[in-house]
Amino acid sequence: MPEAKKFLYVNRKAPYGTIYALESLEVVLIGAAFEQDVSLAFLDDGVFQLTRDQNTDEIGVKNFSPTFRALGDYEVTKLFVEKESLEERGLAPSDLQEIMYEDEDDDWEEKPSIHIVSRSEMADIMADQDVVLSF
């Protein structure tokens, strides 16, 4: 098998107002079957996708925020969230839901999937990919 490619899914849009966030997540879940080196980037309004306490009861739209917590099962364990984007929006890392995965290589220890990175670290992550898919 050829070496895995590095795939980055870039999420810059808020959930619900448009379908991009949900359909991005659908790509990630399906893409996970291809055993590539997958990372997710959340910046600008994309950071709103990961906030806690989303409740869509009154808008009649499916709440897909719990699905992010299943990503570990799909071996998608690198969710990079940009610190500056959070701060600009009055958010702190504690406003995001906890997303964990069990590390197979470390006796199934539970580890956080979300990594808060600076804007310049985010730029480094973006510059280190083979395929960048934007949503």
Binding site: E26, I30, N63, T67, R69, A70, D73, Y74
Partner: protein, 110 residues
């Protein structure tokens, strides 16, 4: 098509997935399984319960490999392996399991 449960007709699509997910019940699951030609053993129920819990928690039905991995952890290796799950759900553990569990039809995206 539709299923008859305790005198009520439950609407389903062409493939036998129920249309209104709120109408699911254990009796309905038995009916769907019967239509699929499957006996609902205790082990089948364990898998169905697992699928429904997974959906409740994460709002998706797990992909087959995720189902197998989690079933192994939660239900033990006797059920949680490819061979057993395939034998229990000959039409595919995710596909047929979701149908009986009253979960959305996998869109078959791969």
């Amino acid at each position: 098509m539709s299923y008859q449960v305790n005198g009520t007709a439950i609407e389903a699509d062409e493939d036998g997935y129920i249309v209104n997910l709120d109408e699911w019940s254990k009796d309905l699951a038995e009916e769907i399984a019967k239509a699929e030609g499957l006996p609902m053993t205790d082990d089948h129920w364990k898998v169905i319960d697992f699928l429904r819990n997974y959906y409740d928690e994460f709002q998706i039905a797990p992909a087959v490999r995720v189902l197998v991995k989690n079933a192994k952890k939660k239900l033990g290796p006797d059920i949680g392996n490819n061979k057993t799950l395939e034998a229990m759900f000959p039409d595919g553990a995710a596909k047929q399991g979701c149908k009986i569990a009253g979960l959305p039809k996998p869109t078959g995206c791969v």
